[in-house]
Amino acid sequence: MIEKIAKDVSDKLNATPSKDFDAFVGLEFHIRELSSLLYLDYEQVRIVGICGPAGIGKTTIARALQSLLSSNFQRSCFMENVRGSLNIGLDEYGLKLDLQERLLSKIMNQKGMRIEHLGTIRDRLHDQKVLIILDDVNDLDLYALADQTTWFGPGSRIIVTTEDNELLQKHDINNVYHVDFPSRKEALEIFCRCAFRQSSAPDTILKLAERVTELCGNLPLGLCVIGSSLHGKTEDEWEILIRRLEISLDRDNEAQLRVGYDSLHENEQALFLSIAVFFNYKDRQLVMAMLLDSNLDVEYGLRTLANKSLIHISRNEKIVMHNLLQHVGRQAIQRQEPWKRHILIDADEICNVLENDTVSIPRSKLNHIVKIHRSYILCSRFLTFVIFFQDARIVSGISFDISRIGEVFLSERAFKRLCNLQFLRVFKTGYDEKNRVRIPENMEFPPRLRLLQWEAYPRRSLSLKLNLEYLVELDMEGSLLEKLWDGTQVSYHKFISLMMLYIFSLYSDVSTLTSGLHSAPCKSQEDVFVKFMVFKETSGSVKCYKSRRIGSESLPEFSRASFLLFLSA
């Protein structure tokens, strides 16, 4: 009992008004406006929306609110990136269950909570005064997580952030705060905080600072990115950037973000693109393992990107990139000449690569074609893929959205050509059961694969040869998979250890790993971030259920579940 009091006191002490948000210009005003909407003295449950364009600071405002208010509530939680982390392999009901499980796990501070029906959220929370922040939601999230105010105890507050005002209207959320663009004066201050780490510019450079702010427009995210990129730079470099901003014809908000990306060095650009396409919201250690021996100094690169406000490393060590910047990354890839692309994201282009067996053309001839048909190249898909094949070896990542393609028959040799492919992601952005990817019997996966994420993988086993030597993450959510390989069965311990080998080789030797796995709980396991499949027995048949983070706490749960993992001899 006494211990519990001490813990509660300790929690209250941790909830000090934080200084994390002091640098956020105009926050005080936002909070003041919101507090009248939140109306904390009001005994009923209230849902409040925060609405505004991407990059304006909705998430930051919501985070500040949580840090200010959470001590007034029995429980609070911040559901980040709700929209982006959906598990697409599930149907609507499954998605809702999944969302509720995540919310309840988080708010009850109990990892891996399982629920069986959608009434659970009400059963658990109706007598609790809670503060829940749902960051960046869509329609389904709201139905799943905050459909009715009766779910939550008296005095509860639900804060919802979104870019879409209609969504709020549809759900009858009438208490909405519309985040406004900062004034010119505030814009300058935001810029100065990033460029000089203080609220105003030194006199000598004030004129330049004003000029840049003017060119940047008034989107806070853009101001931060440009400001940070100029931190500690000479006046000459300022002039160069100003010219670049002046040239960028379209004055939309993304234009400044693009300038932020363009001013990176080549290596950092590569890292930026990998994160934008594959690693947003992933753990830092995992990303380090993914990019090990990629000739990039990942640690340094991440620090640089963070200093330039292009990514943010969260308190729980996750790498977070703003979705607007992610979009800039994808655009940057599309702007590259097709034969120079290391990462492929265009579905048509990927279909071509995976479907066709094409004779490669010698480089000298290729250059010739390029010269002659320069005007054609832009419009001719045929030429695009012919030229592309020439350099299939430079492709290191494929992110394949199969929701809008027709059927594609993978060629047997498709992955052979892509011998340097490290990251393969196949996913759907909408739920349907149609399988659009046909895989030949004898296909081999690329030998250097590090990330294999294939939602709704269409076969029952991974009979294809998959080299485990480099693999860091295997994520086959929602697939038909029943077993991984034909052949000798191995215990799942062995399997996990194989998966983790490469992460662990970063900091400890493998022997401690394998021994550690057999005796849970084990300290070292807490550092492991491998996604792992749990096969859950449902009505006699075994289905691939979902991936879970491996930690000492979830291990007993694993051993109760039944596993069917096979490894080729």
């Binding site: 009992m1 006494i2 009091i5 509660d8 300790s10 209250k12 002490l13």
Partner: protein, 162 residues
Amino acid sequence: MASARTWRYNVFPSFHGGDIRKTFLSHLRKQFNSNGITMFDDQGIERSQTIAPALIQAIRESRISIVVLSKNYASSSWCLNELVEILKCKDVVMPIFYEVDPSDVRKQTGDFGKAFKNSCKSKTKEERQRWIQALIFVGNIAGEHSLKWFVCFRSTNFGAFF
């Protein structure tokens, strides 16, 4: 935004010495020590009818305050004045209902109420009113902010626990 400041103590405890100093409070202090939570210690401050300046100072310099409402808490005008002072300047106040029903605190009924009425004798109406307001307020924090505390302290018998 609240300005950043440094606090001398994490916790200021308000309690009735006779009721809990030797028992509950000493256990609490031990636990706090091991958790690195600093708590103000009033040993050596002279008790009197009016609240000592040193105490006011300590309240102001503590980040949060714990008010342990025990049977005889309200029998001491010293405690009651302390409570008024705490509510005046602290944002975070955690009441612990030590073998006392929160509704008795709110309405000044039961043994708690009897003790309170005793203290009120020979006090001005204003002073009484201030105390009543303060008790209503802390009594309500229970239902409002710290339901779980209320539950766990009512349902356990401390004598058996230690």
